[in-house]
C-alpha cells in the first residue's frame, strides 16, 4: 500500500506555546488510524494544522502528502488534493444552502483536476444518494449550511459532505462527540461505507465507543504533543479499561 501521509518530527506552537512537540505518523492508503489522548494533548491541533488552519505556527518537522509538501499548500489546495476535515464544531453559514456549498466545492476540485463541471442532474442524483446513505431528509440539502442544525445534525452533515466529496484522506475531529447512539451508528455506517483501499481515515477521538463501530487498523495515544504509544484496536479497549493515567505513567518511566 502506498504512503499517503508522512508526518515527521512535527512541532507546532499556538500563541507562543508549543502544542505538538515532535510528532511522527505514517498513514497508508486503505488504513484507518485512531488518534486518542486526554484533553489538551494536541489532537485537535494536529487535525487543524494538517488542514491548514490559521494561527498554528510550525516550528519544526515536515508533512508530506502524496509526495507533496502539505504545509506549503493553502487550505483549499489541500482540500482539492483530497484532504477532508470533519470539523469538531461545524460552523453555520446563514443563507448558503448545503447543496450550493457542495456544488461549489465539488466543482472547485474538478476544475483543479482539469475536469469539467458536474452537470446539474448528475449532481442532484449524487447528493440525494448520499443523503439517503446518511439517513438525512432531503430538506437538509436546501437548508443553510448547518444553520439551526442540532449538534448531531451538524456532525451527520459533515459525514454527508465527506461522502459527496469522496476524499483521499479524511480527518474526522471528534466526530463522535455530542452524538446519541443512533446518530453514532449512522455516522459510523457512513464512514464504513466509504472505506476503500485507496482511501485513508484519521479518527481523532477522546472515547473508545466510536471504535466499536469503526474498527481502526492502528490506535495511537497522543500525549504531551507526540505519539507515546501505538497499537492495534485492542489498545483502545485497554485505554477504556484503564484510562489514560496508566499509559501515561508507563510511558514516562
Amino acid at each position: 500500500m502506498s504512503t499517503l501521509l508522512e508526518v515527521s518530527g512535527l512541532r507546532v506552537a499556538v500563541g507562543g506555546k508549543e502544542i505538538l512537540t515532535g510528532l511522527d505518523l505514517v498513514v497508508r492508503a486503505g488504513e484507518v488510524h485512531a488518534i486518542m489522548g486526554p484533553n489538551g494533548s494536541g489532537k485537535s491541533t494536529l487535525a487543524h494544522v494538517l488542514s491548514g488552519r490559521d494561527g498554528y505556527v510550525v516550528t519544526g518537522g515536515s508533512v508530506s502528502y502524496q509526495g507533496l509538501d502539505l504545509l506549503a499548500m493553502a487550505p483549499e489546495e489541500r482540500a482539492r488534493a483530497g484532504l477532508f476535515l470533519g470539523f469538531q464544531y461545524p460552523v453555520e453559514i446563514p443563507g448558503v444552502s448545503n447543496v450550493y456549498l457542495l456544488r461549489s466545492a465539488l466543482n472547485a476540485r474538478r476544475s483543479a483536476r482539469g475536469e469539467s463541471e458536474i452537470d446539474a442532474a448528475g449532481f442532484l442524483r449524487l447528493v440525494k444518494a448520499k443523503a439517503r446513505l446518511m439517513q438525512m431528509d432531503e430538506s437538509f440539502l436546501q437548508r443553510g449550511v448547518n444553520e439551526g442544525f442540532s449538534g448531531g445534525e451538524k456532525k451527520r452533515n459533515e459525514i454527508f459532505q465527506m461522502a459527496v466529496l469522496e476524499p483521499v484522506l479524511a480527518i474526522l475531529d471528534e466526530t463522535d462527540s455530542g452524538l446519541d447512539i443512533d446518530a453514532l451508528k449512522i455516522v459510523s455506517n457512513g464512514v464504513n461505507s466509504l472505506r476503500d483501499p485507496a482511501r485513508a481515515f484519521i479518527l481523532v477521538t477522546h472515547y473508545q465507543r466510536l471504535l466499536d463501530y469503526i474498527r481502526p487498523d492502528f490506535v495511537h495515544v497522543l500525549a504531551g504533543g507526540r505519539i507515546i504509544r501505538t497499537g492495534d484496536h485492542t489498545l483502545a479497549l485497554e485505554l477504556e479499561a484503564d484510562g489514560y493515567e496508566q499509559i501515561l505513567a508507563a510511558a514516562s518511566t
Partner: protein
C-alpha cells in the same frame, strides 16, 4: 492569529470593474445648463403638457427656491451647483415613435449591450420594458398585450398626453412637491419616467420594468414614476439603472409614487447600478431619490425590494404609509458600498390603520473606505391598533477602513402595538472562511458565497432574472474588497 490572513488570496485579484461605463455617441437635444422658470417652461412646452402640470411645476420650483439641501444624512459631498446641470437631454430621433423600427439603432444597441433587448425578436420573455434614455422614454414594449387586459404601461410623457385625468388625480398625492428638497426639485424639472395603471381586479400578466440610462454628460436625470393599483389588482414592477463612467458627478433625483387601493398589491424591485465612481472616489452618480407607497385601501400591500450597488452617493428611503386596515408594508434591502461610496438608505413605515403590519430586512455591506448607513423610521400612530413591525438590520464590514452604521427610530403611540428591532454588525467570520476553504473553495469564491448567503433573505424577494443579476452585481461590486 492574524485576522486578515485568510483573505490575502484576494490581493492580486483583478477587478472586472464597472461593466456599463461606455458612452453612446448619439446626437442629442440638450438644453444649456441652468435652472430657471424659463427652463421649466421649456421642458413643459417640449412635452406639450397641459396647463395644470406647468402650474404645478412652477409652484414646486418656487417652493424649492425656499429650501436648503438636507444635511442630516451621514453623507459628505461638495456642494452641488444646480446651475451647472442641464435639465433636459433627449436623443434627437426619439420622441413620438410609432414602432420599435423607428428607434435609432444606436439606442437599440445600447440597451442590447446592457442586456435589455428591446427588439421584438429578442425581448425578455415575460417582461415588458420601458426604456428611458437621459430625459425621455425611448420605447415601451408589449404595450398591446397589456392593453388587452386594460393595463396602461407607458412613459410618463405619454400618460400626460393620453391619460391626463389619471395623472392629475394621483400625481403628487403620495409625495407632494413640498415633501423635501429633492422631491421639490424633481417636481419642477422631471422629464420622463414610467406610468402604470392596473384596473380593478386585474393581475398584471407580466413583469413590468423600466430601464433608466444616463448617457449625456453634465445632465441630471429627474424621472418620475407613478403606479396606481386599483381594487384587487396586482403588479410586479422592476427598475434598473446604469450610467457611463465619467470623472464628474451627475445628479439623479427621482420620485416614485405608488398607490395601492383595497386589496391591491404592488411589488416594486430595484437593482440600482448607477456608475459608482472610481477607486479614488472620482465621478459617480449622486442618487437622491424619494420613493413612497401609499397603502390607501384596506388589505393592500406594498413591497419594496432594492439592491443598491452603484452611485457615489445613495440617499433613499422607500417608504410605506399604512393607511388602510390590515395593510402590509415590506422593505427588503441590500446596500453595497465599496471604495469611497456612501449610502444612507432605509425606509419609513408609518402605521395609521388598524392591524397594519410591516417588515424591514436590511443588509448593508461596506468595503474599502466606504460608509454605509441604515436609517429607518417606524412610527405607530394612536389609531394603529394591533400594529406590528419587525425590523432586522445586519451589517457586514470588509476591511478596517470602512464604516457601517445603524440609525433606527421607533416612535410608538399605541399600547397594543408591538415593534421589534434587531441589528448586528460584524465581519465575515474567519471560521466561516476556513470552513469553505477546507471544502476546496477559493477565498474569493468563499467571500462571494458567504456574502450572497448574507443577502439571501432579500434576493429571495426578487423575480428570478433579477435575483441572478443582483447576485452577479454584488460579486462584481465587491471585487478587490477583501485583502
Amino acid at each position: 492569529m492574524t485576522g486578515n490572513a485568510p483573505n490575502q488570496g484576494l490581493e492580486d485579484f483583478m477587478g472586472r470593474g464597472y461593466a456599463h461605463g461606455f458612452v453612446t455617441d448619439i446626437e442629442a437635444d440638450t438644453v444649456a445648463p441652468g435652472l430657471s422658470e424659463d427652463v421649466i417652461r421649456f421642458i413643459s412646452a417640449k412635452k406639450g403638457e397641459p396647463e395644470f402640470l406647468l402650474a404645478w411645476r412652477l409652484k414646486a420650483y418656487r417652493h424649492w427656491l425656499t429650501l436648503r439641501e438636507p444635511r442630516w444624512a451621514k453623507l459628505h459631498h461638495p456642494p452641488i451647483d444646480y446651475q451647472a446641470i442641464s435639465y433636459y437631454s433627449a436623443p434627437r430621433t426619439a420622441p413620438g415613435l410609432k414602432s420599435i423600427d423607428e428607434v435609432d439603432p444606436k439606442l437599440l444597441q445600447t440597451y442590447e449591450k446592457l442586456g435589455i433587448p428591446l427588439h421584438e425578436r429578442a425581448r425578455l420573455a415575460g417582461v415588458a420594458v420601458d426604456a428611458v434614455f437621459d430625459s425621455v422614454s425611448v420605447t415601451t414594449t408589449f404595450k398591446d398585450k397589456l392593453a388587452a387586459v386594460g393595463v396602461i404601461f407607458c412613459s410618463f410623457s405619454e400618460a400626460v398626453r393620453e391619460h391626463p385625468e389619471l395623472v392629475r388625480k394621483y400625481l403628487g398625492t403620495v409625495v407632494p412637491y413640498r415633501d423635501n428638497y429633492f422631491a421639490a426639485l424633481n417636481s419642477a424639472v422631471f422629464t420622463d419616467g414610467s406610468f402604470v395603471y392596473i384596473p380593478k381586479g386585474v393581475r398584471c400578466p407580466m413583469e413590468l420594468s423600466t430601464y433608466f440610462r444616463i448617457n449625456q454628460a453634465k445632465t441630471g436625470q429627474f424621472e418620475r414614476t407613478l403606479i396606481v393599483a386599483e381594487d384587487g389588482s396586482h403588479v410586479s414592477y422592476l427598475e434598473g439603472c446604469t450610467a457611463p463612467q465619467r470623472d464628474e458627478n451627475q445628479l439623479h433625483a427621482a420620485v416614485v409614487e405608488l398607490v395601492a387601493l383595497n386589496d391591491a398589491t404592488i411589488k416594486y424591485s430595484t437593482v440600482q447600478n448607477w456608475y459608482p465612481g472610481d477607486e479614488e472616489g472620482r465621478g459617480g452618480i449622486y442618487n437622491f431619490v424619494t420613493k413612497r407607497g401609499d397603502c390607501r385601501g384596506a388589505n393592500s400591500r406594498i413591497s419594496w425590494t432594492q439592491v443598491e450597488a452603484g452611485s457615489a452617493i445613495t440617499w433613499k428611503y422607500p417608504s410605506c404609509i399604512l393607511r388602510g386596515e390590515n395593510s402590509v408594508g415590506e422593505f427588503y434591502s441590500v446596500a453595497v458600498t465599496n471604495n469611497l461610496q456612501q449610502a444612507d438608505t432605509g425606509t419609513k413605515m408609518i402605521h395609521i390603520g388598524r392591524n397594519t403590519r410591516s417588515t424591514i430586512v436590511s443588509k448593508g455591506i461596506s468595503a474599502g473606505r466606504a460608509q454605509n448607513a441604515y436609517r429607518g423610521l417606524v412610527k405607530i400612530l394612536p389609531t394603529a391598533e394591533n400594529a406590528r413591525n419587525y425590523t432586522q438590520c445586519d451589517s457586514l464590514l470588509m476591511g478596517a477602513r470602512c464604516g457601517a452604521h445603524t440609525f433606527p427610530y421607533m416612535e410608538v403611540r399605541n399600547p397594543t402595538a408591538v415593534v421589534e428591532h434587531e441589528a448586528t454588525t460584524s465581519r465575515i467570520g474567519d471560521d466561516q472562511l476556513f470552513y469553505c476553504r477546507q471544502r476546496g473553495i477559493s477565498t474569493e469564491d468563499a467571500v462571494n458565497l458567504i456574502v450572497n448567503g448574507f443577502c439571501k433573505q432579500v434576493f429571495r424577494q426578487l423575480p428570478m432574472e433579477f435575483a441572478v443579476e443582483a447576485q452577479n452585481l454584488l460579486n462584481v461590486s465587491l471585487e478587490g474588497a477583501v485583502g
